[in-house]
């Protein structure tokens, strides 16, 4: 739980990193990296999301139960994506005939 009170400095530092990442993600989008454009955009977005969850949302300092529930969202989301994509992206595959 957040009985642990963070120094204000932490919030400003995270804010600075988030702004920097926003700048980076916009800049990178204007270079043609092929498929890597999407990968870079998603990597930066995930990194930003992790910072928000850990520091702004205090999960870093929360109980293990909160950690489990927060990670649970990623787990269920992974099931949603893997099973859905497993269907849609393989419809063109021909294994017989």
């Amino acid at each position: 739980m957040t009985d642990h009170i963070l120094p204000k400095r932490v919030y400003y530092i995270i804010f600075g990193i988030l702004l920097l990442c926003t700048y980076l993600t916009v800049q990178i989008a204007f270079f043609d990296l092929g498929r890597l454009n999407t990968v870079a955009a998603l990597v930066i977005a995930v990194f930003k999301a992790i910072l928000v969850v850990l520091f702004f949302m205090h999960v870093k300092y929360s109980t293990r139960l909160t950690w489990a529930v927060a990670l649970g969202s990623v787990f269920w989301l992974a099931i949603l994506f893997v099973l859905t994509m497993g269907d849609y992206l393989t419809r063109g595959w021909r294994t017989y005939g």
Partner: protein, 222 residues
């Protein structure tokens, strides 16, 4: 304020089913997180839909994305990240029991949320005048006409539901402002601000993904 011993016996903010304020706080945080998991999956379904159609029609999606205003999108991203900072600082002030600081940061968060919605409505207005709203009036390059409508349908659905969450968020902050104003929020009892903050940050995270996926694809194209 009650004397120390009496507070432990019965703090006015302590509900009878909890042993302590700390336990009550833990339960509130956990409950909010369980709700946020359902929200992750709610938006997850839309992101999955986006992923499928983008994988099927990459050129049409890139061409349609090119019609969005990167400048306004970037400004809005900065506005929303800043509102997350003011929210985090509001929670911080609430933990320290600084009532006036809480009020200022909550007000700042609401103003930034309103600025975001204002810029968003300017963007929507542009889309209407440019005939980029899916339906009978839709106009786009012939080649991508049908599939660009898919992109714009997803654009309006996803940003629209995100904006709805922002409106609800501002409503929650109004209630928090009222509670902080009348003194319900104290250093002992700040979980309402804390879990409202969790909601606000979650809505920020949704935008962190929406921004690159909607505005930044196909920027390097011809």
């Amino acid at each position: 304020m009650l004397p120390e011993a009496a507070q432990h016996a019965h703090h006015p903010a302590l509900a009878h089913q909890f042993d302590s304020l700390a336990q009550q706080r833990e339960a509130a945080t956990l409950g909010m997180w369980v709700f946020l998991v359902t929200e992750v999956l709610f938006f997850g379904g839309m992101f999955a839909t986006y992923a499928i159609y983008r994988a099927w029609y990459p050129e049409a999606f890139a061409a349609a994305s090119h019609e969005l205003d990167v400048m306004l999108g970037t400004i809005n991203t900065v506005v929303l990240i800043t509102s997350s900072l003011t929210m985090a600082l509001a929670v911080h002030a609430a933990q320290l029991g600084q009532r006036r600081v809480v009020l200022w940061f909550l007000a700042g968060t609401m103003v930034l949320g309103a600025v975001f919605l204002g810029i968003k409505s300017v963007e929507y207005y542009h889309k209407f005048t440019e005939h980029h709203v899916p339906g009978p009036g839709f106009q786009f390059e012939r080649e991508y006409f049908r599939h660009a409508q898919l992109f714009f349908s997803l654009y309006f659905l996803m940003t629209g539901l995100h904006a709805l969450h922002m409106v609800i968020g501002i409503g929650i902050m109004l209630v928090m402002f009222w509670w902080a104003w009348r003194g319900t929020i104290t250093a002992d009892y700040y979980s309402p601000i804390e879990i409202s903050g969790l909601y606000w940050h979650f809505v920020d995270i949704v935008w962190i993904f929406l921004f690159p996926l909607l505005y930044l694809i196909g920027r390097h194209g011809p």
